[in-house]
């Protein structure tokens, strides 16, 4: 029979440390190697992953049916007009965004983001290829860079939020990413339209975000300010 020297509680026979405070149990009177049974078995019952995978397969099959019908109808009745490409590409886009993650055995968030980025770019490319005149290269100068910027930003945010942060730090991260995204969008669009790298329009967003960022950083660093604000704006 052992007691925790910190907590004063009696511990189960053979316990190596107190389960309340982790203090090691040293009892010279207790015979070593005595067979002690823990209160619970070691086996952790993790249920089989839900039937998401099966649901994903069923959704995939259901999605396939209208696509096949559309493709056959297209080639049978209007072979000169390739309208079924929009149905197929939209379905493929939906599948990659919403069904593909459930088919993966091990969830790899960066792989999902990469696949989504490629799927989105491919989807936009189809519209670009079939609808835009060859002289306009908006896909390469606007759509693709924005697609890359957005998904890189999502990947960075996933990496950042995989660890726990305070609310203020999380707000700073989100605000920074929104500001950076706005500036980059503005730069890409201006470069395409006017061939200049300009960020005039996003100045307003940038300045507002910058002020908010300074405020959040100040609140995060200065405990007195935080306490004063909590008192002043207590609701």
């Amino acid at each position: 029979m052992s007691y925790c020297v910190n907590c004063g509680v009696e511990l189960s026979a053979g316990t190596k440390k107190c389960c309340l405070c982790d203090t090691p149990v040293i009892n010279p009177n207790e015979i070593k190697d005595t067979e002690c049974s823990p209160a619970f078995p070691e086996r952790i019952a993790i249920p089989q992953s839900s039937k998401n995978k099966y649901a994903a397969i069923i959704i995939s099959i259901l999605l396939l049916i209208p696509n096949v019908v559309c493709v056959i109808t297209n080639f049978l009745f209007t072979p000169e007009l390739l309208w079924s490409i929009y149905v197929v590409s939209s379905s493929a886009m939906f599948w990659f965004l919403f069904v593909f993650p459930f088919i993966m055995k091990r969830k790899l968030p960066y792989l999902i983001v990469a696949v989504d980025a490629i799927a989105t770019a491919a989807y936009i490319f189809i519209f670009y290829y079939y609808n835009s005149p060859r002289t306009d290269n908006w896909f390469w100068t606007v759509a693709l860079p924005i697609d890359i910027v957005v998904f890189v930003c999502i990947a960075i945010l996933i990496a950042f939020f995989s660890k726990e942060h305070t609310k203020a730090v999380s707000a700073i991260a989100l605000l920074t990413s929104v500001t950076v995204l706005c500036i980059l969008f503005c730069m890409i669009i201006n470069l395409h339209a006017y061939s200049v790298i300009a960020t005039y329009i996003t100045m307003i967003i940038g300045i507002s975000s910058f002020i908010l960022l300074i405020f959040f950083i100040a609140v995060e660093k200065n405990k007195k300010l935080y306490s004063w604000l909590s008192r002043k704006f207590f609701y």
Partner: protein, 428 residues
Amino acid sequence: MKKLKKNVKNKTWFKLDNAGTVFPGQNTQTWSNVIRASINLKEEVDPELLAIATKRCLPRFPTMAVRLRNGFFWHYIEKNPEPPIILPDANNPCLRIKFNEDNRYMFRMFYYKNRISLEIFHALTDGFGACVFLNTITAEYLRLKGYDIPVGGMVLDINEEPKPEEIEDSFVKYASKTGKERLPLFKTYHKIGTRMPKHTTNITTGYLRVNEVKAKAKEYGVTITEYLAGILMYLHIQFQKAEGKKQKDVCMQIPVNSRNQFPSKTLRNFSVNYNLRIDPNWGDYTFEEVLRHLSLSLRLTNNPKHLSVMFAANLSMEKNPFMRFLPLIIKDLAVGLVFAFGAEKTTTSVFTNLGVAKVPDEMMEHIESMVLMPTRGQLNGARVGAASIGNVMAVTFSNMYKETDVEREFFRFLVREGIHVKIESNMQ
């Protein structure tokens, strides 16, 4: 009466009781509202005999031997012809219930060394009903082992027919026809920490001596429930104070067995939750002040009139014609959303005390202790369940966080009060 009895035996489906209607909607892939009750015997459990005992007892409990079905407007339960499932215990109790697993039963029986455990979905019954079910199975198990165990207390006679009053929805029967109450909703303090991995819970059980706790509670002029819930409330006030943030209300949820106030014999849900709050912004509270506040609040609210008004408030959804004819899928979605964004925000922690389980003396000779464990919370850090049998009281913390600050301070408090505490945990 004879006709009614016949009806119970031949009934193949039942409506869920008023409290039970909300639990299926709260169910998620990782969390279910499950009650776990365990009995520690003095000898190792034989799983084969336990399976036979469970099977024999099921006809006596028609509302437990069921599977959940979806109607167009409401869930209902129907007789389950499959055999029940007996499993070896695992390190992570109160695992989520899936309605198409375990032969579609909404309860699971576990065995581990000398312990028999029952995990049951809250939609079927409350802590009292779960303990009656478990004690009846354990008594039958002991009979199969060759012991002579009579019926009485929480042990029902399995040769008897199920009684209509045991399957009634007592909420409907005893709800006030005229009284109305709107439950106030406040955001409350939650002690946070590092979340346990998915599907796991940090369990700590402290075994106390009933006579010691009773004597100490008597010193303060309160009941055992008030005393232990008071400690929990006091500790949360201290934790919040130490965090130095904006002081929110500390609210203890205390489920109360309404069978103590009404002559109900139902084995289905018949408990309601009292939310007892204290505002730390009013000043520094001593333990005695917290205890007095909690004790007086509980005594003021815990009376049949107030309970029946609370039943009526809970029944309002079921009686509202608009809600009644809303398709089940929308109802479930609404319940899930309300629960996800509201329910636990209004309570800091839960303290549920079954009280002393009454079983025949012949059965007591084979029992060491009885444990009642609430399911882990989704915002409530440490939730507490207590049950006593003989002179042993088991106080169990189900914690969603790895940190054991609440448990540690709670049991240290009891030790300082001169109460002997023996600890065991699934994290050892």
